[in-house]
């Protein structure tokens, strides 16, 4: 008897089936990856196992856990199974933990509810569990509220809550998607370590995660199981075309497809840019520290770093969306001052922005045609309505959207289509610089490839310079000419693509690269070589700010701020850059 047996599972909403005839099994203690793009039904399957689907879902088939049927049984029976026999870790711990209750209280309630422990004993067990998931000072975290923990710590607490009642099956639904790559590696290692003989059903869109952490894998396409097998075999010899497509679009660090920079004229110079925010009652937070960067026409520069590294602040200050504390920005030979409202129209037209959330960045009450036409109304008011519509249609066409999309509203678009509209809106003014703030982070692998290809094409045709803010190093590898690595607001390394990935100079860059999960079971990356998390920017460490997490750190690193120096064309800020 398998631990979990799913047979002919079908989930329908009204007349749309989101899961169709799905059958699979999970054995005791094994780790299975459930892979698919968004909308493939993987999360629906997870929720169905725990009986958490909304009331309007029609469910058919059978789900048996340890031999007992879970479909169609009473809430009462399900409540006994939940947490004790099968538990789940959700994607975003900020949303999934109750912000009004202390962490310890939320975990203790599980023990009390299932009559596993009470009073002092329950508290002791919770604290012990918090310690096992690696929360420093567990007594203190017991009394903490979720918002007082970092993202990684919150996810650790979430894992503690899932494992505290010692379930036989742990379902993890995209457990690391909301986290930085370094923290992702830590959390995945923790899951591996701590689950012992608890079986793991890991749901993810990231084949790199599966390659490193699952013995077997299942591939879903639009609600149907198209392939299953040992992870090694599936990666080596995918039998289904969809699996092959997913693998081809999977993040890798060894694929590059970069056009050569066209002219190499200096377009945008950023000199010693600094940004700081005033935190009420807690002093100033230094978000960006003296960053220099020059961007040329036809060039893509990626800005990478963990969350809180200041990458978005830097770019927003350059665009004039937030005030710059000090420093200078020169665009096409003119120095820029003040906020975006005070800048001349040509400058504003010359720099455009594409955001992360494609649907959220479009006005839900406007049709696509009007969304894309809006910049023209502002910057080219002399254009007649007919000509304006013509330009919009041509622009949309070039981003791959035909005339049938002109009259649609944003909610009628898929994520990829909405991002094409956002790009069309940004490009219709023929800007010189396009800033993409995590512009492909919310998109599935194959769609992400298409969007990146589109941007490349535009760049080759028009000499557009692109600044790509991202935390995804495989995207960096695929699109950028040069890479700026930031840590706590400061430049730690600025290098060409090949140099950065081939010979990273800064220990932080190395750790980032090692943490990237590689979609290859033979050389799985995703190693948690970087311990801990980014310190608070309100109390930055002395000397080199990276030294508390650096395995090479020496005495000098604690006392002296490293100066930037250039080694073989790479700018790096590390005392030991030429030794390691």
């Amino acid at each position: 008897m398998s631990l979990l047996e799913v047979q002919e599972l079908t989930i329908r909403y009204d007349d749309t089936a989101v899961v169709r005839g799905l059958s699979f099994a999970v054995e005791k203690g094994e780790s299975v990856g459930l892979v698919g793009e968004s909308g493939s039904g993987k999360s629906q399957t997870a929720l169905a196992i725990l009986g958490l689907l909304p009331g309007n879902a029609e469910i058919g088939g059978s789900i048996r856990l340890e031999g007992g049927e879970l479909l169609g049984v009473s809430e009462h029976i399900l409540n006994a199974v939940r947490a004790q026999r099968a538990a789940i870790v959700f994607q975003d711990p900020m949303q999934a933990l109750n912000p009004f209750l202390r962490i310890g209280e939320q975990l203790r309630r599980i023990l009390v509810q299932h009559r596993l422990a009470d009073g002092k004993e329950a508290q002791a067990r919770v604290i012990d569990m918090l310690k096992r998931v690696g929360l420093p000072d567990p007594e203190r975290q017991y009394r903490a509220y979720p918002h007082q923990l970092s993202g990684g710590m919150r996810q650790r607490a979430m894992i503690a809550s899932a494992l505290i009642a010692e379930p036989a099956l742990l379902i993890a639904d995209e457990p690391t998607t909301a986290l930085d790559v370094t923290v992702q590696a830590q959390i995945l290692e923790l899951l591996e370590e701590i689950r012992a003989d608890t079986a793991l059903l890991l749901i993810t869109h990231d084949l790199g995660v599966v390659a490193g952490h699952c013995e077997r894998m299942l591939v879903l396409e639009q609600g149907e199981l198209v392939e299953q097998g040992a992870t090694r075999d599936v990666f080596a010899r995918p039998r289904h075309a969809h699996t092959a497509r997913l693998l081809a679009a999977a993040p890798r660090l060894d694929t590059i497809n970069i056009p050569l920079p066209s002219t190499g004229e200096e377009l945008l110079q950023i000199e010693a840019a600094s940004v700081s925010y005033r935190e009420t009652g807690r002093g100033r937070l230094q978000a960006v520290r003296d960053v220099d960067l020059t961007i040329q026409t036809g060039e893509t520069v990626a800005v990478v770093g963990e969350s809180g590294s200041g990458k978005s602040s830097l770019v927003r200050a350059v665009l004039g969306l937030i005030p710059m504390q000090s420093g200078r920005v020169v665009f096409c030979g003119t120095a820029l001052h003040g906020s975006v409202q005070d800048r001349p129209t040509e400058v504003r037209r010359g720099m455009q922005l594409v955001f992360q959330d494609p649907v959220g960045s479009l006005n839900p009450q406007m049709r696509v045609a009007n969304i894309v036409a809006e910049p023209l109304l502002v910057h080219k008011p002399e254009l007649s309505a007919v000509n304006r519509q013509k330009e919009v249609a041509v622009m949309l066409e070039s981003t791959g959207l035909g005339e049938e999309y002109l009259q649609r509203y944003p909610h009628e678009l898929s994520g990829g289509q909405a991002q094409r509209v956002a790009i069309a809106r940004a490009l219709i003014l023929k800007p010189k610089v396009l800033v993409c703030d995590e512009a492909v982070a919310a998109l599935d692998g194959t769609v992400r490839e298409q969007i990146l290809a589109l941007l490349r094409e535009v760049q080759v045709d028009s000499g557009l310079a692109i600044v790509f803010i991202t935390h995804d190093l495989s995207v960096v590898r695929a699109v950028s000419h040069r890479v700026l690595v930031m840590y706590m607001g400061a430049l730690v390394e600025l290098a060409g693509n090949a140099a950065l990935f081939g010979r990273p100079r800064h220990p932080y860059t190395r750790a980032l690269l090692e943490a990237v999960p590689i979609a290859d079971p033979e050389h799985a990356g995703g190693k948690a070589t970087l311990a801990g998390e980014v310190p608070s920017a309100l109390t930055p460490p002395s000397g080199c700010m990276f030294h508390p997490r650096c395995k090479y750190a020496r005495d000098i690193c604690k006392s002296e701020v490293p100066r930037q120096r250039t080694l073989d064309g790479t700018t790096v800020a590390c005392h030991l850059a030429d030794e390691i």
Partner: protein, 307 residues
């Protein structure tokens, strides 16, 4: 926290000042005066009375005189209740109104939150629809219609409860006025609770709690109730104001010797100082209650507390 409260109180001074100016002008703009009577007094007596109460001074002088009294905590003498200061009158009448208002507020909270929560849990069922229909009716019908209807049914026809305040009727005399005062608030709070409870029940952390095997009761009690009450809490300020205004009507209908009744009498008699005194007192009360609500907000929501 203390600093915050003090700043808020200081910030309320301009509001209170504006209220005083408006009330002062409106009272004096009303035709007639406090000593007009059916019996016409000789001109010199009228002049003497006016001089004794400074009513012969220009309006701005009277206003400054009133303000300086107010700053010293003196609301002035009542013009009609001879030998009583406005402060004394408020001191006797307010406890009655406070009892009435507090009971109405408590009733509205308990019944409103319970009804709203049940409606949310049984969303789109007959129970939900009935609760919401009743609530809609409660909001639509004004107190001065509800109160006499309640009296007619429960006091006159069924004779279960006393119709008024007079006579030796004990605590039961509170029942009808409290219900009449609370009904619209019950309805409003039920609707608020239902809407926010539905939102909270759809949130990710409730799904987590369900995934942890907590039954509906435990989910609502430990996870959903607190966040669902936030909108209700922020309605407490306006609710207090609504109950204050409602009590003016209810006290008149049931003949309750509370502040509301004094207010109505005062207005009819052009008892300038009494009306002004009650207005200032109520305005200060509403400001204070809103401050309490804001502080409670921080107590419930830890994310606000930290700031």
């Amino acid at each position: 926290m203390l600093r915050y409260a003090l700043l808020r109180l200081l910030g309320a001074i301009p509001t209170l000042f504006l209220v005083i100016v408006l009330a002062f002008l409106m009272v004096h703009a009303a035709p007639g005066g406090p000593f007009d009577d059916e019996r016409v007094l000789p001109a010199e007596i009228e002049e003497n009375i006016a001089a004794a109460y400074h009513l012969d001074e220009p309006l701005h002088k009277q206003f400054i005189r009133y303000l300086s009294g107010l700053v010293h905590g003196d609301l002035g003498p009542s013009y009609r209740y001879r030998d009583h200061t406005v402060g004394e009158l408020i001191g006797t009448a307010f406890p009655v109104s406070l009892k009435l208002g507090a009971m109405a507020m408590l009733l509205a909270l308990v019944v409103g939150v319970a009804a709203g929560s049940f409606a949310a849990l049984r969303r789109n069922t007959l129970l939900d629809r009935s609760v919401m229909a009743v609530a809609m009716t409660g909001i639509s019908i004004p107190i001065f219609v509800i109160a006499p209807l309640l009296v007619l049914l429960l006091a006159v026809r069924l004779q279960w409860l006393p119709a008024g305040w007079s006579g030796n009727v004990g605590a039961t005399k509170f029942v009808l006025p409290v219900i009449a005062l609370a009904l619209p608030q019950i309805a409003y709070i039920a609707r608020l609770t239902r809407a926010s409870m539905i939102d909270v029940l759809a949130s990710d952390f409730v799904r987590t709690a369900r995934a942890q095997g907590l039954g509906t009761t435990a989910v609502v009690r430990y996870h959903a109730l607190k966040p669902a009450l936030l909108p209700v809490l922020s309605y407490m300020g306006p609710a207090a104001a609504a109950i204050l205004t409602g009590s003016v009507v209810v006290e008149e209908i049931f003949g309750i010797p509370g502040l509301g009744q004094f207010f109505v009498r005062g207005a009819l008699n052009r008892d300038y100082t009494l009306v002004l005194g009650i207005v200032v007192f109520y305005a200060a009360l509403v400001v204070l209650l809103n401050l309490v609500v804001d502080i409670l907000y921080g107590v419930i929501d830890p994310r606000i507390r930290q700031r």
